[in-house]
Symmetry: C2
Subunit: 188 residues, 2 copies
Amino acid sequence: MARAKVDLPVHRIRAYLEPGPIVLVSSADKDSRNIMTMGWHTVMEFSPSLVGCVIAGGNHSFDIIRATGECVLNLPTSDLIDQVVGIGNTSGADIDKFAEFGLTAEESEKVAPPRIAECYANFECRLHDDVLVDRYNFFIFEVVNAVVAKSPKNPETLHYTGDGEFVLAGKTVSRRRLFRPGLLGNGR
Amino acid sequence: MARAKVDLPVHRIRAYLEPGPIVLVSSADKDSRNIMTMGWHTVMEFSPSLVGCVIAGGNHSFDIIRATGECVLNLPTSDLIDQVVGIGNTSGADIDKFAEFGLTAEESEKVAPPRIAECYANFECRLHDDVLVDRYNFFIFEVVNAVVAKSPKNPETLHYTGDGEFVLAGKTVSRRRLFRPGLLGNGR
């Protein structure tokens, strides 16, 4: 089901990406669109809002993203686990993954590739630096637009541990009282 | 309490780092030793076992790690949450964090900085590539030795979401039956 969303300041994406969830990467060129499952990513900077991630050269998405310099990082929750696994175990060279997995391609605001409407959040990205692409398949993207579901505050995200197993996001614990004020902020 | 541990093949560290836990980074030079809290990291390759991470230039650890090219990524669980927060809110320029937070410095096997005995796992690292350190404070380390606690299989790791809040690792879900065999392996 498509989710109702609100805008999120791009410097606050750490609240959703830093905990290490599996994400779905959507991309498109004039001939095709695609989705891949990806777990090797890290926040790198707040402003500009940078995310680094590994997209293996064998992926159909690699060529599209390298050529177009754009993608969307879509944040799925546990209700989408079978789609996440299916997308990670098929190739966009053979099928249209949006159709195959019943996902809705929704127009992005600032980039050409579509967002996935059923995901909890969508982070629209432009390639910021490709200096490590040849050596490590490591892309540094700038998040240029972000939207997040109105609720719940804490999504049950999927965290991959290899061998077909996932850890789900569990309960939330606050230690705000122990932080220096300058280190607070940028939360959910 | 120090944990009983077993060796872990270094290509299998993804099982513990890919889900995005907060880690404690220990470092040392001839004059001092230090610990920092770090959440911006990603697995980059299985063999060699590479991990990329952001260590901000303002940190006391930055200079030590840049100069020595070594550190240990220690994986804390939720029982260490107050130490994790304390370490992230103090500077090693002022205090010895091992003493201050009651943590045990244990000799590493392949690098000079000590491991933290109370952590669930310890990943001994050597600097592999510093090409992005000047531009992004992004270090690429090779994990040269890894040990992991004998139990439990699934540690309750800490995942930071900003603003003083953490999400704890929750329940585990398997979808092995939906995976292509070639994509399985490297799990816990």
